[in-house]
């Protein structure tokens, strides 16, 4: 199904939801103010739904707004997003009946940063970026250049196992298969694991020396819904507010531990970091650990208890000495 057809259906659905009073807000995507960029659209106005779009650039995980919206929401969700929504239900942050999920099977999103690196130009200098099945076609100054899609999709899209939303009220578009392709060119878990410890420590020391503690990684993450974050506590002070690399690293590591079992690998944390710190390397490692140790993936079953708050008598205890 073409994006334009999905958009049509989406707008009809969204409008109907508002008109029938089934939801108070529609949360979706609209065209952003920069080339190729999309931006969240949060509206109560049924006329605004004409602005809803679907494109290869609908990056935001909109479920981050569900914990602050007052009222019921009709929300557009890709595969990873829908799992974040289910997560919020598991954590009792939202009720199933308060959300109408318009699911969109996602064939992967295009990472404009990767295209900028490949073409050596910034995104506002491209004429167009279009996806044709398994190729991405870019045009600059009239000249076309195309790439295998695996070279320009986000890293987490390349490793996506569940492109079709797990939970939805209406599915817009045809179910699609997970993207297959080489795992990312950015530092991958395997590369890091192959590094000797001393080298790995220096690697992270250097990366986290750039961290300015903007907290975008935390604020964009739907799993970080705490009203009072541990970094904001002063008694006791877990982590210094001053951005020393040690405290920056502690913040991120602790954050990953706190969202263990909630993270759906949507990749937003890494996308938003203004200092290009490879945060997903940590988040994905935690995701893999959760999978290996507990055979658990976040957001698959809204009735399952949250991973680390559930206890069963039969669980292993051999690590307790």
């Amino acid at each position: 199904m073409k994006n334009s057809e999905i958009e049509q259906r989406l707008r009809q659905e969204a409008k109907a939801l508002l008109e029938q009073g089934k939801v108070d807000y529609i949360i979706g995507y609209e065209t952003g103010s920069l080339k190729f960029t999309t931006t969240p659209l949060i509206t109560r106005n049924k006329d605004d739904v004409e602005r809803l779009i679907v494109s290869p650039f609908i990056v935001n995980n909109l479920s981050v707004y569900l914990t602050e919206i007052k009222g019921k929401a009709g929300i557009i969700a890709k595969g990873c997003d829908s799992r974040s929504i289910v997560n919020l239900m598991q954590d009792n942050k939202i009720a199933r009946e308060d959300v109408v999920i318009m699911g969109i099977p996602c064939p992967g999103l295009i990472d404009l940063k990767k295209i900028e690196l490949l073409l050596g130009k910034d995104r506002d200098e491209f004429d167009s970026v279009i996806r044709h099945n398994d190729r991405a076609v870019t045009t600059i100054n009239g000249k076309e250049k195309d790439f295998p899609i695996a070279e320009v999709l986000f890293d987490n899209c390349l490793e996506c196992e569940f492109p079709v939303p797990q939970e939805y009220d209406v599915l817009l578009g045809e179910p699609c298969a997970p993207v297959t392709g080489e795992v990312s060119k950015k530092t991958s878990i395997k590369e890091l694991e192959a590094m000797p410890r001393g080298e790995r420590w220096n690697y992270w020391k250097e990366e986290f020396s750039r961290c300015i503690r903007c907290y975008a990684c935390r604020d964009i993450c739907p799993a970080c819904f705490c009203q009072r974050c541990f970094v904001e506590e002063s008694e006791p002070q877990w982590v210094s507010p001053t951005p020393k690399w040690q405290d920056n690293l502690m913040f991120q590591v602790t954050r990953n531990i706190h969202v263990a079992g909630r993270c759906t690998d949507c990749g937003e944390c890494e996308r938003v970091c203004p200092m290009n710190i490879p945060l997903r390397s940590l988040a994905k490692k935690m995701y893999d650990i959760v999978d290996e140790q507990f055979q658990y993936k976040a957001g698959m079953d809204k009735n399952a208890p949250p991973l680390l708050t559930a206890y069963e008598a039969a669980e292993a205890e051999d690590f307790i000495r």
Partner: protein
């Protein structure tokens, strides 16, 4: 005889080397792929290929994300406080863009007013700014709406204009004039070069497509201060992170914290943001608990309160906030949407 000089781009290293004898020369560099002004290594001029502004603003060099204010120790006599010595800085910033230079002028006002800030001012003292006009503005740039332009030389000492294979070099201040006089390897610019520069400047001006109207914006903002519905709508998609304020060249809010271990420690200041919920949090109440109040504060501070105090809007139109915002919250859209006064 024209007072302009010029230099071939290939020869930039030659004049930087001269200036490097006297100053700490900072040039656009990449650090982990995130560009900022950093110390020139003495030989590489590859940065000349990049023709756009750095991600990190120049404020980073004068007002860093973290700096020590003083250290202290305790012994049986009591505490001893050791101030951080300001040191001799003498920075030369090469290829600073007009927007960032204008931003430094705004920060100068803020850090000098009332009580002088010794940390910022000691770094700033004696700094020479070599401006480079932009020939390829981003689609997020809007300097032309903020009383500036891609070739604005108001706040630099020397202004460079890209005229092809060469830079035209214009003296702007007395300091700039003296520096040019004692710099070797510069050629005289011809009339044709100056004409080319004029063309380039006009063309660059027209390349800035993003525009806002700031006429009476302070009065309009005052009129809608209590309009909760408007501010809730404008702020809906903001996630309250610190990216816009941290990467903004004119934002200067900071936090002060102590670190200590046993009998010694230090006091640091670090970047803070009015967007954070805890920014104004007191034990008993938080006047800006709700997001819409914080977004209102940011917009009003830049376009209403700062102008009321100091006479200029605290925004230079660099567009970093728009480019880097995780949700594409756009201040130009916000300004354009402020209701007219009824």
């Amino acid at each position: 005889m024209s007072t302009s000089k010029k230099i071939n781009k290939k020869d930039i290293g030659k004049i930087l080397s001269q200036w490097n004898q006297e100053f700490t020369v900072l040039v656009p560099s990449k650090e982990g792929d995130v560009s900022k002004m950093a110390r020139w290594d003495g030989k590489d001029t590859g940065f000349m290929d990049s023709h756009r502004n750095t991600v990190q603003p120049v404020k980073t060099n004068f007002f860093p994300p973290m700096e020590e204010m003083f250290s202290f120790q305790k012994d049986k006599e009591g505490y001893h406080i050791e101030p951080v010595s300001p040191g001799e800085h003498k920075l030369l910033i090469f290829a600073i863009r007009p927007c960032d230079a204008n931003a430094l002028a705004i920060l100068d006002v803020a850090f000098k007013d009332g009580y002088e800030d010794p940390y910022y001012l000691s770094r700033r003292k004696g700094t020479v700014l070599i401006g480079l006009g932009c020939t390829n503005p981003y689609d997020s740039c809007f300097c032309t709406s903020m009383g500036s332009s891609p070739s604005d030389s108001t706040n630099v000492d020397i202004m460079l204009t890209d005229i092809g294979d060469e830079f035209l070099i214009e003296e702007i201040t007395e300091t700039g004039k003296e520096m040019i006089a004692r710099t070797e390897e510069l050629e005289e610019a011809k009339k044709a070069d100056e004409a080319k520069a004029k063309q380039v400047k006009e063309a660059s001006y027209n390349k800035v497509t993003r525009k806002i109207d700031t006429k009476d914006i302070d009065k309009k903002l005052l009129a809608c201060f209590e309009n909760k519905d408007y501010w809730e709508e404008v702020s809906a998609k903001c996630i309250s992170c610190g990216i816009c304020t941290f990467l903004c060249p004119t934002c200067y809010c900071f936090d002060i914290n102590d670190d200590s271990f046993k009998k010694q420690g230090a006091r640091f200041r670090s970047w803070d943001s009015c967007a954070f919920p805890v920014y104004t949090r007191m034990p008993m109440e938080n006047p800006r608990e709700e997001k819409w109040r914080r977004v209102r504060q940011k917009v009003c501070h830049k376009f209403e309160f700062f102008p009321m105090n100091f006479g200029s809007i605290a925004c230079v139109g660099c567009g970093r906030c728009i480019r880097l915002c995780p949700v594409n919250w756009d201040i130009t859209q916000a300004i354009e949407s402020v209701p007219e006064i009824t």
